[in-house]
Subunit: 119 residues, 2 copies
């Protein structure tokens, strides 16, 4: 008896995609979020590098093939609803096509903070 | 002249939602991913606590109101495409309704890792 691959549990949206959060494994930086279909997920889990599905170009996009900024997979987990993936990676260079380390750098919004009163 | 609120730059999907990645501000743990519409984003940025839009219940869901497991906002940023939000929070208790600290705990997939040869 072979066990079903756990990734078969993944739940995709109406476009056949699930969001993948990409995190630098050692620093904890959230680098980016992009989308995977079932085949992109399979490649990511089996090839050692992260592959997305590009919604704008409608094609597979193995991170780093053009830019050199590859993402080497360290671990991956589905969430409790099986509809979000977290991939811990070793990021070569910068994750963002704009040249920043993460896609969130320098893009902070103003927030109102509140005193934590619980817990 | 007043500056437009930066959050007006946010880009929503066809359902009027954007994914929000929630990260513990000090440990870097990725706690969960959930969805916000424009009003949930406004509340999150102005009320000091994270509010989502529940797709299953079709209602606003201020994290912790039922469970006590509130998320106090420390910072928030949009990504380079303005269609993903990263919120750094101080999480009271556990983030996951199943009782685990994050929604990804204990849900790891098997991965093949590859030697990093670049960078």
């Amino acid at each position: 008896m072979t066990e079903e691959p756990r990734f078969d549990a993944a739940v995709y949206n109406s476009e056949g995609l699930l969001p993948a959060v990409i995190q630098q494994w050692d620093t904890g930086e959230v680098l980016m979020l992009a989308w995977m279909n079932k085949e992109a997920l399979r490649r990511t889990l089996t090839e050692g590098r992260v592959t997305f599905w590009s919604r704008s170009r409608q094609e597979y996009w193995r991170k780093g093939d053009t830019s050199g900024h590859a993402q080497y997979v360290r671990s991956a987990a589905l969430d409790c609803d099986n509809d979000t993936l977290l991939v811990k990676v070793d990021q070569v260079g910068v994750a963002c096509h704009t040249g920043t380390r993460t896609c969130f750098d320098g893009r902070e919004l103003d927030v109102v903070t509140m005193e934590r009163s619980e817990g």
